[in-house]
């Protein structure tokens, strides 16, 4: 039994979990210091955040609906990172995903609900995937670094969708930069009436489990891990790494596309210019906190969702500015990105723990 526990403790997943939890605790403490230095009460502030986001039905619904889009983008970043590619283009990919889904949702009128929703989601999936595939193609064919190309492509894609929403796809007589409303048959079901929480959350969670399954059970997932950890050994083992890069980045972009599609079909019921508040970039933090583990992304996205939902009440009930929550998020990411820093910070404790034995 003791051996078993030791084995679990030695696994990488467990150690990452510990690192992430410690990072979270430290950043909450640092956050408290910052609040009190700014002249507010840290206890009151945290009470306001957690009391609402975890203590009320509406709060929980808001937390979950805030968690959904970043869960998608977090998964998109996490899966790309398994082959050591960094998808900085989730923002652009989710915009094209959203507009593709919105068009499919608005202009296809003959499909029953059970077909229409999946079809429209699939359009978003494909659009995001193809946008990412282009980036991966540039990498394997010309050696262009995906970090820069996907980052630059964001602007192109976002402005292109803006053009569509301002021009060809703008309904007649409307003055707002948005597309036609999607059909009733294409709207995602709300899990709790009168909230923003839709079945998109379930799609995101299922996606996480599918990715976990691919990584641990399939030959393709195995090849991804080998490629990401040692590309030369993967090549020597006869793995076609270019194919792995293309496929994985397509999936990554496609999941970002699903994020956009679920916003268009579930939250806004249309494509709205500028609807994403940097969900694509938030995905990078979410994935990092989860140590790029798909199941971990479910938790870290939920956590960020709680903070985000809390920040909305924070502003209403106390004088603490909303941006304070962003500060905590950034602190978490900095600490997770610097595991050595955490080890240094916690060394006195671990020495104490050992001495106590």
């Amino acid at each position: 039994m003791r051996e078993k526990i030791q084995q679990i403790k030695d696994t990488k997943a467990f150690q990452s979990l510990i690192t992430s939890v410690i990072a979270l605790v430290i950043s909450l403490l640092l956050g408290a210091v910052i609040i009190s230095l700014s002249g507010y009460s840290p206890v009151e502030s945290y009470k306001a955040i957690l009391g609402f986001s975890l203590g009320t039905k509406n709060g929980i619904a808001l937390s979950l609906s805030q968690a959904t889009p970043i869960m998608f983008t977090g998964l998109a970043v996490a899966i790309a990172y398994k082959v050591k590619m960094i998808n900085t283009g989730a923002e652009g990919q989710l915009y094209v995903g959203a507009i593709a889904a919105a068009v499919a949702g608005a202009y296809i009128t003959f499909l029953p609900r059970a077909v229409h929703i999946p079809a429209a989601m699939l359009c978003g999936f494909m659009a995001g995937g193809l946008a990412a595939l282009f980036v991966a193609f540039l990498k394997v064919r010309f050696g262009a670094g995906e970090v820069i190309t996907s980052l630059m492509l964001n602007q192109v894609l976002i402005l292109f969708t803006s053009y569509l929403a301002n021009g060809p796809l703008k309904p007649d007589g409307s003055s707002l930069p948005q597309t036609e409303m999607v059909q009733e048959t294409a709207r995602l079901t709300r899990l709790i009436p009168k909230t923003q929480l839709t079945t998109a959350l379930l799609v995101a969670v299922i996606t996480a489990f599918i990715l976990h399954f691919i990584l641990t059970r399939t030959a393709y997932g195995y090849e991804m891990k080998a490629t990401g950890l040692n590309v030369d050994a993967a090549k020597t083992a006869g793995i076609h790494v270019s194919g792995i890069y293309l496929r994985t980045f397509f999936i990554s972009g496609a999941i970002a596309g699903l994020c956009g599609a679920s916003m268009a079909l579930g939250t806004n019921h249309r494509f709205v210019e500028g609807f994403s508040v940097n969900y694509g970039f938030a995905g990078i933090s979410v994935a990092a906190l989860a140590a790029y583990n798909p199941l971990g992304v479910i938790l870290s996205a939920f956590l960020f969702g709680v903070l985000k939902a809390g920040s909305i009440t924070l502003n209403r009930t106390t004088a603490v500015p909303m941006e304070f929550v962003d500060v905590i998020q950034v602190l978490v990411v900095i600490l997770v990105a610097a595991p050595t820093l955490i080890r240094t910070l916690t060394r006195p404790f671990s020495v104490l723990a050992k001495g106590g034995k």
């Binding site: 030791q6 084995q7 990488k12 059970r217 399939t218 030959a219 393709y220 195995y222 090849e223 891990k225 080998a226 950890l229 040692n230 030369d232 050994a233 993967a234 090549k235 020597t236 083992a237 006869g238 793995i239 076609h240």
Partner: protein
């Protein structure tokens, strides 16, 4: 005078005792060779001395004064420097810049390059290093880069220099040059600790040999003049080892691997020039040569990792072409030249690594491309036991294994898939004697079961002991075919350095 004394050093890691009350001492102006198998504790002991590891028990004395080593800078301040196996140099910097970096002489806030150059130049002259202080390090050969590392230590006023496997990357001539330098250093009163696997070199250069086994000190005053390779390896392993007995092929069969007209051009240079070779079933064909004479290109061409400009390759009479996965499927197995770079994914488990490259085979993967996890677990467990891989379980990550056990994983993977032909490169590089003996046994066993083996090794002794036929590769050409025993070590060495005509005149 005793410079360093370590007494009762004990270091435990979860599950093992890396060092068990080990004593060690080093006198001024002596060369001590630290011998032991992988995992015997040599590296840990040196890490303790260098302040990279803090032991649970034991004390370190410097000039009979108790000191505490908490970090490498503590050691460096006391004049203890370590030259690592993998050099830590900035390729784009010059020799001078690499040497002074971190402790540059300066005028105010400005770097005093003139002063640096003068100091470095003096050092080079004093110790006879024969390199120019203004050359960029990337333009230097491996042996010269190593000299820069040693200069770095001397520049920091080191009295004690620890060299970790210094000859592993050197050609025979470079080894001689290195030893010349070490003797000069000794004359200047410097003390040197040499960590190595190569017993012949130990005997050639050391004043005193210290032997560790399983974390314990076995002997600390072996006189190399009285020792032989056999006696040293027996002390290291704890039983009789014999690496020099030839087990010639019993039955050499048909041609299995037939290579014709292999040409490789790289960056406009001909790396391989019309290589023709046949490997028969039941035969080990050895390729002798100094590294960089086309071995890498040969291995890559014969395993599908590189598309040569020209080549016909037949396996049992049918042509093979395509990429690496095709070659593996056609049962041409590959032991890569660098196990950690090419052969293994060190973060993954033994289990995952034992199927790498074969993971798409029907044994391990069903038609929906799902891995057959329970079969893989059973299969790899059996393999781990059969090939004597020392590790707690198949879930253990490759990175926590010793070099010898890592190599056993690579060997186990390829040998157990019933290959027809094997391309084996440097099978025992950086591997201890026990594992070396085992790997050699496995290779001859496989040969005797009728496989065709092509052995490429930088270790001339290995090529001579294992091969049933030897080809000498020099600048991309096969300069000589010989039977074992036909040429002695010196003659082979001459051929390897291109002295073909000299040899023909002499013989």
């Amino acid at each position: 005078m005793t410079l360093i004394r370590m007494s009762g050093i004990t270091k435990r890691y979860p599950g093992t005792v890396a060092l068990d009350r080990v004593d060690f001492h080093l006198k001024e102006g002596e060369i001590v060779s630290l011998l032991g198998e992988n995992g015997a504790g040599k590296t840990t002991l040196m890490k303790v001395l260098y302040g990279m590891t803090i032991p649970e028990e034991g004390d370190v004395f410097y000039k009979e004064e108790k000191v505490r080593m908490r970090k490498p800078t503590d050691a460096i301040e006391m004049g203890i420097c370590m030259v690592h196996q993998h050099f830590m140099l900035v390729p784009a910097f010059t020799v001078t810049e690499n040497i002074v970096v971190g402790s540059e002489p300066h005028k105010g806030i400005f770097l005093d390059l003139e002063q640096s150059k003068k100091e470095v130049g003096e050092l080079i002259k004093k110790f006879g290093f024969h390199i120019s202080p203004d050359t960029e390090v990337e333009k230097l050969s491996v042996g010269e880069q190593q000299r820069v590392e040693i200069l770095k230590a001397l520049y920091r006023k080191a009295d004690v220099i620890i060299l970790d496997e210094p000859t592993a990357v050197l050609t025979p001539t470079e080894v001689d040059e290195l030893f010349e330098i070490l003797r000069t250093l000794k004359k200047e009163g410097k003390s040197i600790i040499l960590i190595t696997h190569k017993l012949k070199e130990t005997i050639a250069i050391a004043d005193r040999v210290v032997i560790l086994r399983d974390g314990k000190l076995i002997k600390d005053n072996v006189d190399p003049a009285q020792a032989s390779v056999e006696s040293l390896s027996e002390m290291m392993v704890g039983r009789h080892v014999d690496l020099s007995v030839r087990r010639p092929a019993k039955e050499i069969g048909e041609v299995c691997l037939h290579v014709k007209d292999l040409c490789v051009t790289e960056d406009g240079q001909d790396k391989l020039k019309q290589i023709n070779l046949d490997v028969h079933r039941g035969e080990i064909l050895g390729i002798a040569g100094i590294e960089g004479n086309g071995q890498t290109q040969l291995i890559e061409a014969l395993t599908g990792l590189r598309k040569p400009q020209r080549m016909t390759l037949d396996l049992d009479g049918t042509a093979v072409s395509g990429s690496a996965d095709v070659f593996l499927k056609r049962k041409i197995a590959h032991i890569p030249e660098d196990r950690l770079k090419l052969g293994l994914v060190k973060e993954l488990s033994i289990r995952d690594n034992l199927i790498l490259g074969y993971h798409r085979e029907p044994d391990f993967c069903n038609k929906y491309s799902l891995l057959k996890r329970s079969y893989i677990r059973q299969y790899t467990k059996k393999l781990k036991e059969r090939f004597l891989v020392k590790a707690p379980s198949v879930e253990t990550a490759i990175s926590s294994l010793s070099g010898g056990n890592q190599q056993k994983v690579v060997i186990a993977r390829a040998f157990s898939r019933d290959p027809d032909a094997l391309i084996i490169a440097h099978p025992t590089r950086g591997v201890d004697i026990g594992a070396m003996e085992y790997i050699h046994q496995q290779m001859t066993r496989l040969r005797d079961s009728g496989k065709a083996i092509l052995l490429i090794s930088a270790d001339l002794d290995e090529v001579r002991v294992l091969s049933d036929r030897i080809l000498v590769l020099y600048e991309g050409e096969i300069v000589r075919e010989s039977m074992p025993g036909e040429l002695n070590e010196v003659q082979l060495g001459l051929l390897m350095t291109g002295a073909k005509s000299a040899l023909e005149k002499g013989v």
